[in-house]
Each structure stands twice: as structure tokens, then as C-alpha cells.
Assembly symmetry: C2
Amino acid sequence: MRIALDAHGGDYAPDAVVKGIRLAAGEWPDTTFILIGRDETMLPNGISNLEFRLVSEQIEADDEPVKAVRRKKDSSMVVGCQMVKKKEADAFISGGNTGALMAAGLFYTGRMKGVDRPALAPVFPTLSGKGTLVLDVGANPEAKPEHLRQYALMGSIYAEKVLGYSEPRVGLLNIGTETGKGTELTKEAFSLLEKEQSIRFIGNTEARDVLTGPCEVLVCDGFSGNILLKNTEGVAKAIFDRLKQEFTRSWTNKLAAAVLAPGLKRFKKDMDYKEHGGAPLLGLGGPIIKAHGSSDAKAFYNAVRQARLFIEQGVISQIEQELSKHRGVDE
Amino acid sequence: MRIALDAHGGDYAPDAVVKGIRLAAGEWPDTTFILIGRDETMLPNGISNLEFRLVSEQIEADDEPVKAVRRKKDSSMVVGCQMVKKKEADAFISGGNTGALMAAGLFYTGRMKGVDRPALAPVFPTLSGKGTLVLDVGANPEAKPEHLRQYALMGSIYAEKVLGYSEPRVGLLNIGTETGKGTELTKEAFSLLEKEQSIRFIGNTEARDVLTGPCEVLVCDGFSGNILLKNTEGVAKAIFDRLKQEFTRSWTNKLAAAVLAPGLKRFKKDMDYKEHGGAPLLGLGGPIIKAHGSSDAKAFYNAVRQARLFIEQGVISQIEQELSKHRGVDE
């Protein structure tokens, strides 16, 4: 198995990427890692299952995605997607510009058969520590009911094969739990999802309940999903920042905080996206995973774990089979 | 000034309503309160500026809004809106069924001149404790760009006159800060808002930043606003619940938590919607305020404070003037 990683993606790249590879290379000696970067000196010593692919360009976080992918043909991101296309790599992981990764993925690997719109599908932390796969969180700001149906099918298979949930429950993000709530999109999507035999649809799910994990797969249009993702991050960060202030306000507070620290750390860990790896671009023609922009070594290591399952379990062909079956039934 | 309150709206009604009136009646002896309820025995003694209006019905939280308003003509909610219409009350406050309150408001008081869609506009807590007015959070799941323009104008006037912000900043909820981000709706709304001379538009605002208060007025379609509202509530509740667990896990933890308690209470208070009163149904023909379903006496008291400013400052005529001016310019 060959997994390529973008040396130039993410806030702590290339250091975090290299350290992540070191962790992963030790654990999975059957896997060959390919680091794609602009400077061979970053290559660490003593890892036998690591190769290097030299490129001359890199796509920046604030580059305009489509333009960057067109112009920077020898960037780590474009080359990574090309390698997946040419089967020189079985999967590609990048912590870089999400829009550019999606554009490069679409351009070089295309879409799975039967998928109209690939989705960005991160795992949201839940209080149980297990997580919920949410799709889409912004690859496509606007969606049609049929897209949400495809998200539900893709998400169910991924949640089962990669996240290890058996018969994952699927929820539809909505502004009320009753049938008939929401927009034209959610109303029509509800009736499509209700008819799907091969998913376990549990109905509408409200944004206030996501963290308590009522479902393992949550489908929504990319605009709403992005609001949900960023708001969850923002509220959690704001609260933890404020707690930190309280905990360091005086020496008595510091002492008290020290007593509580182990439990709070456990909690922060449960709530940490880094434990869950990256977000697959589900629906692309190859396994391409977006690691969070602030990924550390552990996050890249977890993204590798996830990429391995993605490949081993044949997620793409399973989804294509499922979608073709359903198209057949509909027609 | 005459302010009517629904005795049957909210989880702690009628107790919380009656106690809220007691607080408010003491502070504002110039105001006459009218409690609308099904049972005169709930009327407290010793409040000279309190009247009672007996009704025979009440609208329940799970009633279908439009049907309930049509059928329960002698309910506290319908009678409250009728009183505003007939000028028997200058404002009406209810903690009940939001959809029914909007339906009754529309049916009896109509819309302000120039407003296509009234919006539900709660104040979101921000870390500073000052709060951001968000509209709409679900009165209209779907919106057109022109609706967002009207929300921005209404919200700016309300934020200035009732919340006391001078030149409030207006943000557009979006999935990126750059111009050109988002859906057709946000792109078109952006260009309308940019042209508005009488508001202080600061551009796109991301969901992760809302709590830090980059703007005093945030506009969005009702679906996204509802996601934002409920997710903020859900994440904050989940984190505080989990903290509580940690704080009571052992006697050492309990001791440590006791040391930290005053600061945490201050924080919880800053984050508490009850400090900010209720959500006006902005755009209705009369001052109608939705108090949060879990309002306590203090929340009803704060809703009264808010209703008084709403009336005193002539918010409705100011909005109508502003909108007519703009319509004039456009045509």
C-alpha cells in the first residue's frame, strides 16, 4: 500500500507531516509513504518505508483554488492527486487549501460513478468521544435533494467501513424534529431519505443535539454544514479560552485548576478533531483526505490510519456498487 | 404605557411571568401591566399597576401554529396580539409557541410598511457580555437577498434604539470572509448590503467568530440562523454539563470547583440569554416580543425593559421611515 502526503499542507507543515509519517511508518511497515515537497532536506533519516517526490511549487492557503490548481501544475497538491490518478499512490493526504484540494481531486481523479457532487466529510467530535460524520461541510454551498441522498449513502458506507459503526444512523440536519420542517430542500430530501432501504434514516436532527450524537452520519447542504462546523469550533474555543482565563486568574485558582486538570484534559481529548483523523473528500474518484489545517503529528498519523482503512475496505467500489443499484431501482 | 403579558407562555409559566411582572411593576410604576390568563387566581396581590384579562383558551407548545391561531380565538396569545392591534396594549410579550406568536402577530397586527418578511431576532450572548442581534433565526427558513437587506435595516435601528449600540456594525453570516463566498443568496445579499448607505456593513462574518462579537447585527436566512442559535445553545450546554460532571467527580474536585465557582458563575451569566430579554418579532405591525421558552422571572423582567424601549423609541415608525426612504431611492 502506498500513501502520499503533502509536505506543504497545514499550519505546522512540513514538521507535523514528517513527524506524523515517522509515527505511522513505524506502526505500519507494510505501507510505503511518499512525502511530496519542495526541499529534500526535510526528509528524515532512518525510515526505510519512506520515499520522496520533489516538486517545485506549492499552493498557499489563500490561493484562489481553481486558478492555483491550473497554474501550479508542479505543486505538491496537484502532484499528489495525479499520483492517485496514475495509481502511483493509493491515497493522498493534505492539510492544505481545501478548495484547491477538491479542485485538483476533481480535475485529476474525477468523481465516483453515480456521484454528482463530492462532499467534504469531517468527523465531528461528540461527547461520547465516538464522533459523527457530517457531510457536506462546504464543498458545495448549495445542494439538491438528490445530493443529500447521495451524501447519506456515501456517508453510511464510510461510517461503517472506516469508522467502524455497524448500521450507522443517518440524520438530516433541520430546524425542527417534526416531519415537514425546514426549507424546500430539507422537505424533499426527507422524503427521498425515508424511501432509502439501505440506510438507517432516523429523521430530522436539530443542531442543538449534534454533540450528544443522536446519529453517526449527518447530512446537510454545504452552507449549513459549514456554519455548524465553524460554530462548534468557535463556541468550544471561546468557552475553553475563557475557562483558561478563569483558571489562571489567581494562585488559588491555579491550584484548583491543577486538581481538575486530568479530567478536563480527558474531556478536551474527547472533543478533539485530531483524534479522528482528517475529512475524506467523499465522492472523488480516489481516496483523498483533507487533514485539518491545524493538524499536528498525531492528526497526520490518524489520517494515515483512516486512509489505510479507506483503501483496504474498498470504500469507493462499495459506494459505486450501492449507487448503481439504487439508480437501477429508481429508473 | 401598557404592556400585556401571556400568562401561558414558557416552561415556567405562569409563575415566572407573574414574578417577572412583580419585579417590573415595582421598577416602572408609570407602566400598566396586563396579565392575560385563564385563571384569575394567579393574579398576585398588592400590585396596583396590574390588570387581568381573562381568556378561556391557551395555545400549547406543540400546537400547529396557523391552525391554533385560527381555532383558539380566545387564547392568551391571540388576545394579546388583538390588544396590540386595538391599541389596548402598546406591546405584548409571550414565552409560548414561536410559530403561533408569529402567525397571530401577522394576522392581527400585520407587517410594518415596507417589510416583506418579519424576522425573529434574538440577542446572542457574546464573550463581552454585550450581545449580537441575529436575524432571522427561523421565522422564514428561506430568504431572498432583499429580505436580508430589510433585516439589516431593521436590525440596525433596533440595535441602536433598544440595545443602545451607536452605529452598530452589520455582518452577513457566511462560510468565508472573502467577497464572493457562499451561496447565490449570500452573494446577492452582499452586493445589496454593500450599497446601503444607512448601515455600517462590515462584510461576511463566519460562524466561528460570532461569539467574539465582530458585529452587533448579524443577518442570515432563517434556516442558517436557527442552526447557529441551536448549535450555540447545544455546544455550550454540552460543555457545561460535562464540566459539572468533572467538578463533582470526587470531593477534591468539588473543593477545587468551589474555588473556581465565582468566576465561572460570572462567565455563565455573561453567556446567559436571560440577561438580554426576549427576541422581537421585527417587522410586525406592533411591538411583539418572544421570550425564551425557558424564561425565568428575570428574563420576563428584561423582556419588559426591552418592550418599554421598543415603544418609547418609536422603533416601528423609525424602521418604516427608513425603509420608505430606501424604497424611494431605489425606484
